[in-house]
C-alpha cells in the first residue's frame, strides 16, 4: 500500500481543519439547557409520540434521577448535566432526497463526504445531525426484500409492533444511569430489521455529527436480525472543537435471532471535548453470531464496553476493539461476555495505544453461568505505549460458575522500541512514518476487519495522531 507523506504540524490543529469547523447553527427548535420532567415531556410532544413511549421516557427519567453516576472507570464528575441541551432539531423531518436537505446541513455533510459515500453504492446511509436523522436513503432492492432501515423516530411511528416488542429489552432504563438518561431523552439513531434468511451483503452506514455547542446526542439504535439473516452496520462520529464539553450517550441494542449474524462497526472520532458514554449490548440466540468492531480515537473520555449475552446454544460473540488515547484523553473501554447457554463461545481482542500522557484501560468481564457447559472464552489485550508518560491498565474480571468452561486470557504491554524504529529508519523511512507504521502493524488485526474506506481512514487518523509524538 502506498504511504503518502503527511505534513501535519499539530494534531489538534489538523483535527480542526478537517473536522473541527462548524456551520452556523440554524435549529428549527432549540429548547433550554438542562434536564427536567418538562424537557422530557416536551421532547415526546415535539415528536408526536404514542403514549407508551411518553410513559417509557418519564419512567426512565425517574430512574435517571435515582441512580448514581458510576464511581469506577473514568472521572465523570466534571460533566455539568444541567448545562447541556438535551434536544436540538435541525430540520422538520427526515429527508428522502439529498436535494431536499436544507443547504446549510448539506454543506456540512458535503464536507464530510456523505453523498460521496452514497455514490459508492453503499446499501444505505443515514446521517444524524444534532439530535435527529436528516437524511436517509436505502437501496430499492433491500426495501423490496423487506429490509427495514430507518431512523428510530420514524420506526416508533411506522413499525410500532417490532419496536414495542424489542425496544429496551436488551438494555432496560434501569441498567445504568446513562442508559436511563438516554431512555428519557433519546432522539434519532437507527432502526434495522432484516427478515429471515436475508443477507445484506453491503454495509449499512450511519454518520453522527454534533454541530452545536453543549449539545447532548442521545441516539438510540435497535437492530433485529431475524433467523438466518446477516447484516453489517457501520457508524462514524465526529464533532467540531468547542471550548465547552458535549455529551454523547447512546444506547445500542442488537438482537440476533437463531442462526443470524450481526456485525456492528464503529469508528469514533469525536473531538476532544466530548464525553462518550455508550451502552452497547447484544443478545445472541441459538447459533447466532454477534461481532462488535469498535474503534475509539477521539473524545475526551470514553466509557464503552460492548456486551454479548449468549443465550442460545452454540452462540458466538466477538469484540474487536481499538483505542487510542493522546494528551488529556481517557479511553476506558472493554467488553462483556455472558455465557448463558451450553457450547457458547466468545473472543475479545483489545488493542490500545497511549501517547503524550494519554490513558487507556481495558475493562472486561467474562461471565459463565451454571449450565453453560463447554463454554469457551478467550480474551487478548495488547497495549502499546508510545512514550514514558502514557499509561495503560488492564482490569479483567472472570466470573466462572461452570466447571467445564475453558477460559483463556492473555495480556501484553509493549513500547515502541528504539530498535524497531532504527530498523525502519535505516531503510530511509522518517521517524514519524516509522512510528505510524509500527502502530498500523500493531492494530492490523482490527483494521483488516474493517471495510476498505474505513481502514484507510483509520490509518490516516492514526498517522495524524502519531505525528510528532515520538522522540
Amino acid at each position: 500500500m502506498a504511504m503518502e507523506p503527511t505534513e501535519i504540524t499539530d494534531v489538534q490543529q489538523s483535527y480542526k481543519e478537517r473536522w473541527g469547523w462548524h456551520d452556523p447553527e440554524r435549529p428549527v427548535h432549540k429548547p433550554r439547557r438542562g434536564l427536567s420532567r418538562e424537557v422530557v415531556e416536551e421532547i415526546s410532544w415535539l415528536k408526536s409520540e404514542p403514549e407508551w413511549m411518553r410513559r417509557f421516557r418519564l419512567r426512565a427519567y425517574e430512574r435517571y434521577e435515582q441512580k448514581p453516576l458510576p464511581t469506577w472507570g473514568a472521572d465523570l464528575s466534571t460533566i455539568d448535566f444541567q448545562s447541556i441541551y438535551y434536544f436540538l432539531r435541525a430540520t422538520e423531518r427526515p429527508e428522502r432526497s439529498w436535494e431536499d436537505v436544507p443547504a446549510s446541513i448539506k454543506t456540512t455533510f458535503d464536507r464530510l463526504g456523505i453523498p460521496e459515500a452514497e455514490r459508492k453504492h453503499l446499501a444505505g446511509v443515514s446521517a444524524q445531525y444534532e439530535s435527529e436523522v436528516v437524511y436517509h436513503q436505502m437501496k430499492q432492492e433491500l426495501t423490496s426484500r423487506g429490509v427495514l432501515f430507518t431512523d428510530m423516530d420514524s420506526a416508533v411511528r411506522d413499525h410500532a409492533e417490532l419496536v414495542q416488542r424489542y425496544f429496551a429489552t436488551v438494555i432496560p432504563p434501569g441498567d445504568n444511569k446513562l442508559a436511563a438518561l438516554n431512555s428519557a431523552v433519546w432522539s434519532g439513531g437507527s432502526f434495522i430489521y432484516v427478515p429471515p434468511g436475508v443477507k445484506v451483503e453491503i454495509p449499512l452506514q450511519a454518520y453522527f455529527r454534533i454541530n452545536a455547542e453543549s449539545v447532548g446526542q442521545f441516539e438510540r439504535t435497535l437492530i433485529i436480525a431475524d433467523e438466518g439473516s446477516f447484516v453489517h452496520y457501520v457508524e462514524g462520529c465526529t464533532a467540531p472543537v468547542y471550548s465547552s464539553d458535549s455529551l454523547h450517550s447512546a444506547v445500542v441494542e442488537l438482537i440476533a435471532l437463531p442462526h443470524s449474524r450481526i456485525r456492528y462497526t464503529t469508528i469514533q472520532n469525536w473531538s476532544q471535548n466530548v464525553y462518550n458514554l455508550v451502552t452497547k449490548r447484544a443478545v445472541a440466540h441459538e447459533a447466532a453470531v454477534v461481532e462488535w468492531v469498535d474503534g475509539n480515537l477521539g473524545s475526551r473520555t470514553t466509557m464503552k464496553y460492548p456486551a454479548v449475552v449468549l443465550t442460545g446454544r452454540r452462540a458466538h460473540g466477538e469484540v474487536l476493539s481499538l483505542a487510542m488515547a493522546g494528551p488529556g484523553q481517557c479511553q476506558d473501554t472493554g467488553a462483556k461476555m455472558t455465557h448463558v447457554a451450553p457450547e457458547t463461545s466468545s473472543l475479545v481482542v483489545s488493542k490500545s495505544i497511549s501517547k503524550g500522557g494519554g490513558r487507556t484501560s481495558y475493562r472486561g468481564l467474562v461471565k459463565v453461568l451454571p449450565g453453560a457447559t463447554g463454554a469457551k472464552a478467550n480474551v487478548r489485550c495488547d497495549a502499546l505505549l508510545v512514550d514514558e508518560i502514557s499509561r495503560s491498565d488492564t482490569y479483567p474480571t472472570l466470573d466462572i460458575q461452570e466447571q467445564t468452561a475453558a477460559i483463556g486470557h492473555e495480556a501484553t504491554v509493549a513500547r515502541i522500541g528504539d530498535d524497531q524504529l532504527f530498523y525502519l529508519r535505516s531503510r530511509g523511512i522518517p521517524e514519524a512514518e516509522a512510528a505510524a507504521m509500527i502502530v498500523r502493524g500493531f492494530i492490523e488485526p482490527i483494521t483488516k476487519q474493517l471495510p476498505m474506506e474505513y481502514a484507510v481512514e483509520l490509518n490516516r487518523l492514526i498517522e495524524l495522531q502519531m505525528d510528532g509524538s515520538v522522540g
Binding site: R425, S426, R427, G428, I429, E433, R440, E444
Partner: protein
C-alpha cells in the same frame, strides 16, 4: 581521494557510557569490497551501528564522511536516503507490517518517489526468484516468525531491492550454512557495480573463500590494527587473531578486547 566513498577519521564511540571505538580510521573507495574482521568484542557491530546512526551509540570524537559529506550527526533515515545500507545481524520483527508494503515504503523513501505498483511488483518478483523465494514470503509480516535463515534472506532481499551505494553487511553470514554463505556472496556479486562498495563485517573466514575482498581490515580494541589485501585473510586463517593480538598488546588498553 577523489574516488573515495567512505572515510572514517579518528572515530571514537561509546554505548551506555562504555567506550568501544577508540580512534578508528578507514577509507573505502568506490567499487571495492572491504572485509572487516576481528575477534568478538573488537567493535565490529558497534562500527556497523555507528555508521548507520543508531541512537543508542554516541560518537564522542572523530567523523564519518560519506561521498565527502560529514554525516556523523545525520539521523539514520537521512543516511539511508544518501545511499547507506545496513544488513542487520539481528533483524527486528515488525508485527502486522507486510514485507511487501515495507519494501515499497523503503523504496519510495530512498528514491523520494513512489514506484508504480506494477513495476515494483515485477522487480520484487524478479529478485525473489533469484533468491529462490516465493511471492508468499513477501506477503508475510516483516521478520515476524521468520527463521534465522529467513531473516538473513530478507536482509539480502532488501539489499537487492534498494541497491545502496554503500552496503554494510553485519555478520550476515553468521548462523548460515554453506548455502547461506553462497547467498550472501551472490547478493554482493549481483548488486556490485563500479560506483558501489561493500563493507563485509565477519567473524568467520570461510565467507572470504566465496567473496574475494579488495581489502581486509582487522579490528581490535576499537581500532583498525592491520589492513592488507586478500592475502591478510589467508594469513589470519593460519595464525588466527591471537598472533595479531599479542602483536598489538602494547597499544591496547587493559580492559579492551575481551573475547
Amino acid at each position: 581521494m577523489e574516488n573515495e566513498l567512505l572515510r572514517i577519521e579518528d572515530l571514537h564511540a561509546s554505548v551506555e557510557g562504555k567506550s568501544i571505538l577508540r580512534g578508528l580510521n578507514l577509507s573505502v573507495p568506490r567499487g571495492e569490497v572491504h572485509a572487516i574482521m576481528g575477534p568478538n568484542g573488537s567493535g565490529k557491530s558497534t562500527l556497523a551501528n555507528v555508521l548507520m546512526g543508531h541512537p543508542s551509540y554516541e560518537v564522542t570524537r572523530g567523523r564519518i564522511l560519506f561521498k565527502g559529506e560529514d554525516v556523523t550527526a545525520l539521523p539514520p533515515d537521512e543516511r539511508a536516503r544518501r545511499g547507506l545500507f545496513l544488513a542487520f545481524q539481528y533483524p527486528v520483527e515488525v508485527p502486522g507490517v507486510s514485507t511487501m508494503s515495507f519494501l515499497r515504503a523503503a523504496l519510495g523513501a530512498v528514491r523520494g518517489e513512489d514506484q508504480p505498483v506494477r513495476e515494483f511488483r515485477r522487480r520484487l518478483e524478479g529478485e525473489l526468484k533469484d533468491l529462490g523465494m516465493e511471492l508468499a514470503f513477501a506477503r508475510r509480516n516483516l521478520n515476524e516468525g521468520f527463521s534465522g535463515g529467513e531473516k538473513k534472506r530478507c536482509e539480502v532481499l532488501q539489499l537487492r531491492m534498494l541497491r545502496p551505494e554503500l552496503a554494510i553487511l553485519d555478520e550476515t553470514d553468521s548462523g548460515l550454512d554453506i548455502d547461506g554463505i553462497r547467498l550472501v556472496s551472490q547478493a554482493v556479486a549481483a548488486t556490485r557495480r563500479p560506483e558501489a562498495s561493500f563493507l563485509v563485517i565477519t567473524h568467520y573466514l570461510r565467507i572470504l573463500t566465496h567473496l574475494v575482498p579488495d581489502r581486509v581490515h582487522v579490528l581490535f580494541a576499537g581500532q583498525v590494527i592491520r589492513s592488507g589485501g586478500a592475502e591478510l585473510a589467508r594469513e589470519l586463517e593460519v595464525s588466527g587473531y591471537e598472533a595479531l593480538r599479542s602483536e598489538h598488546r602494547p597499544a591496547a588498553t587493559a580492559q579492551a578486547g575481551t573475547p
